[in-house]
């Protein structure tokens, strides 16, 4: 009977080897979990850029409705309660700019890759799945599809003309008119009339050019043969993925990645690029680093070199450790209540009272966001710096003092340089934490859409009071869209991948700097 009691199941050696294999198993499990996470993000994110195959098929949205024939792109395939379900996007007469559906595979018939179908992306981010048939020139004559780039050039020339009129003529007149409005003198009436006439003349020319531009059109056909007309000026690009070779697909992917990184979002952050968010994220992290590093280092130097060893110091140390555990949204609320409303509001009443009630600093913005994140990451920097300071050998400090250095000189010339790798460790952790935070940022300055970048050519060039876009907020936004929109969901994964890369690159930079510092101030 005793053979079956648990204590006899394993000998002590077996127990030990069991513990080892259990640890190995857990480590493996964690690695697999991390691998799966990366795999999902990388594969889903990367498919956003890869030209997806276009299919042609017929389906019924419900049992009563008529069958629909359409070009489609498959978003996802999975099985639900035993039957295969296809989640796809399609275009037809009812939904020229695309709709999505989730149907069982049996409800779709005649599904086959269609190399005549094209994904036509419009400049505003919307897409059409259809077969391009023919082109129409301004003289209303039919032209072959081969002339597409030629005609697109003509359209571009008209667009440029319009742009020149807008920037060189209209804005000038507009400015003069508003100056006259400011003066509001009756004697200006003739000038005003002359300017208005000029304005109308140029405006009329623009309308004419726009009409002319709209005469260049592309005719497409949906899968059921129904024709549809698109203005060439609205078309951003046409990709016939079925006719692309493997290498051309790679080329298209790289172009798509490039545009993703350099263009602004369209269609409420479900299409287009993420440049403003990328820029905002990096700038916010940068400003935060500039704020948190000196403050964190000064606090750590005080705590470890100057503070007397008493109860107050212990309380401060415990508070710093506890600050690291405070939920980040609390920092967001603190930033909103203290920085934005209290500090910013008071700055407004003191310095910008002429602009009130419109707030200048008393509104969420890049600086308040960076400051909030700096407070959030302060404990990380303090703890890591203190760790670095503790590693400075006592002998070196004594050597510095023995040469007549004061405490401040010893800190500046010996202790801080030697502790600099530790400080960099803190900065790395702070960057990693700050780049990934979303919740507090949404309260203090990050928005879904910001019309301007925080840096531009206008004085003072760096606008710390502006609201900014952030990759994390974009992901958050995309995650909500993902329930209803196909494209938004892939964009979310792509943005996620980009955020990971940004954090990775920022960390890599800091790690390289730390390695160089370590080499420089290496001990023994």
């Amino acid at each position: 009977m005793s053979r079956f009691s648990p204590s006899h199941w394993f000998s002590s050696v077996q127990k030990q080897s069991f513990a080892i294999s259990f640890s190995a198993f857990m480590a493996l499990l964690l690695t697999i979990a991390l691998g799966c996470l990366l795999l999902i993000i990388v594969s889903r994110g990367a498919t956003y850029f890869w030209p997806a195959t276009i299919f042609k098929g017929e389906f019924r949205l419900s049992d009563e409705s008529a069958p629909v024939k359409a070009y489609m792109q498959i978003r996802n395939e999975f099985s639900r309660s035993g039957s295969e379900v296809i989640w796809f996007k399609y275009s037809n007469r009812d939904f020229p700019y695309g709709n999505q559906a989730m149907l069982e595979a049996t409800q779709i018939s005649g599904l086959q890759a269609a190399d005549d179908g094209a994904l036509i992306t419009l400049t505003d981010g919307r897409t059409v799945l259809a077969e391009p048939l023919s082109l129409q020139s301004a003289e209303r004559e039919e032209r072959a599809l081969e002339d597409y780039s030629l005609m697109q050039e003509e359209v571009q020339r008209i667009t440029n003309q319009i742009e020149v009129i807008r920037t060189e003529r209209l804005s000038d007149i507009h400015q003069q008119l508003s100056e006259l409005d400011m003066r509001n003198v009756a004697a200006d009436a003739p000038a005003r009339i002359r300017l208005s006439r000029d304005f109308n003349k140029w405006q009329g020319l623009i309308s004419e050019l726009e009409i002319q531009r709209n005469q260049y059109r592309l005719t497409v056909a949906f899968a059921d043969g129904e024709r549809f007309d698109l203005a060439l000026g609205d078309i951003d690009e046409i990709v016939r993925s079925g006719r692309l070779s493997y290498w051309q697909k790679w080329q298209a992917t790289l172009t798509a990645i490039g545009r993703f990184l350099t263009e602004a979002p369209k269609q409420a952050n479900t299409a287009g690029g993420v440049f403003p968010a990328l820029f905002g994220t990096v700038l916010m992290v940068f400003v935060m680093t500039l704020i948190v590093t000196p403050f964190g280092v000064m606090a750590a130097v005080y705590l470890s070199e100057y503070a007397p060893n008493n109860a107050l110091t212990s309380v401060i140390r415990i508070s710093v450790s506890n600050m690291a555990g405070v939920p980040s949204i609390v920092y967001g609320v603190f930033g909103l209540g203290f920085f934005v409303y209290a500090v910013g509001g008071n700055i407004d009443t003191l310095f910008f009272s002429h602009k009130l009630p419109a707030p200048t600093m008393g509104t969420p913005g890049l600086f308040w966001a960076s400051l909030t994140m700096a407070i959030l990451t302060l404990p990380v920097v303090i703890v890591a710096t203190e760790e670095g300071l503790r590693r400075v050998p006592e002998g070196l400090k004594a050597g510095s003092y023995a040469l007549g250095a004061t405490k401040a000189e010893t800190v500046m010339r010996t202790i801080l340089p030697i502790a600099s790798p530790g400080i960099m460790t803190g900065v790395i952790l702070a960057i990693a934490r700050a780049a990934g935070e979303v919740a507090p940022l949404m309260l203090v300055g990050a928005v879904k859409f910001a019309p301007n970048l925080p840096i531009d050519g206008e004085f003072p060039y760096l606008h710390l009071d502006r609201q900014f876009m952030h990759l994390g907020v974009l992901i958050y936004d995309g995650a909500f869209h993902s329930q209803t929109d196909v494209k938004g969901s892939s964009m979310m994964f792509a943005t996620c991948l980009l955020l990971l890369l940004v954090v990775f690159i920022l960390n890599l930079l800091a790690v390289v700097m730390r390695m160089r510092l370590r080499k420089k101030y290496q001990q023994g």
Binding site: L403, G404, T414, I418, G524
Partner: protein
């Protein structure tokens, strides 16, 4: 080598004939109420090597640290009595400790070069003084390294890290670092205990040469070393100065029983 020392020992030394570098008057010191030094009075002669010997914990390192007030860095350290150096009491609370430490250089048991280049190590004290002229720095660095008998070994790699030097070279670099400030007094706190015998010999020779430049006070556990290099030797026991005389007499015919017990190795 032996001849050199014999020759030096020929000029008969009496403490009372020497000029005074430091005079210690009734110095007592406590670490958080634990007495470490007890009513010590002694005169340290100028341009001589004075050795402090005694068991571990007898207070010799603490005494040497009083001369440049390094004990100030230890919390809970209190001291009474006077230390007269250059006509003033350096224990006075108005003493400029930073300036004092440029006059009284110190070398520690373990070589502690800064993680900087050899050149910058020697410059450290000068830069603190605000000396930044390239020419002046170059000259002082060369002179200090020559004085510390290190110049020939490092002159081609002044801007390399000091960490690549051997232990003995590092210790001489630390001596050069102190010499760059042209101190009146050089304190050596067991400067060779972390070094091998040959390097130790090298440093001892160096000390004999440096004597012309400054007064040297050395703490050592090694009685042969004390006998070899020092002109005067003080024996401390449990925070008291037991015996203090020229090294020849102290090592050959000690007056006190405790001294004899210690130098013959009966304890300690």
């Amino acid at each position: 080598m032996l001849k050199l020392f014999e020759h030096e020992h020929l000029d008969v030394k009496r403490l009372s004939d020497e000029e005074t570098a430091i005079e210690v008057r009734n110095l007592s010191l406590q670490f958080s109420d634990k007495p470490v030094l007890n009513d010590i009075s002694m005169r340290i002669p100028k341009h001589r090597i004075t050795a402090l010997i005694g068991q571990s914990g007898c207070g010799k390192s603490t005494l040497i640290s009083c001369f440049n007030r390094m004990n100030d860095l230890i919390s809970g350290c209190r001291y009474q009595g006077e230390i007269i150096l250059g006509g003033r009491d350096i224990n006075h609370k108005k003493e400029n400790v930073s300036r004092l430490r440029t006059q009284v250089g110190m070398v520690f048991q373990r070589p502690n070069p800064f993680p900087l280049s050899i050149y910058e190590n020697v410059c450290y004290g000068l830069r603190l003084q605000g000396v930044n002229g390239r020419r002046q720095l170059d000259d002082t660095v060369e002179q200090a390294l020559v004085d510390a008998a290190l110049w020939d070994e490092v002159k081609d790699r002044l801007f390399e890290s000091a960490q690549v030097l051997s232990g003995g070279q590092q210790q001489r670099l630390v001596i050069a670092r102190a010499l760059a400030l042209k101190p009146d007094i050089l304190l050596l706190d067991e400067p060779t205990s972390a070094l091998d015998p040959l390097t130790t010999l090298y440093i001892e020779e160096l000390m004999a040469g440096l004597k012309k430049r400054c007064s040297i006070i050395i703490v050592t556990h090694n009685m042969q070393q004390a006998a070899r290099v020092s002109d005067y030797t003080a024996f401390l026991h449990q925070g008291r100065l037991i015996e203090y005389s020229d090294s020849d007499s102290l090592f050959t015919m000690p007056h006190k029983k405790q001294t004899e017990d210690y130098i013959t190795g009966r304890y300690g």
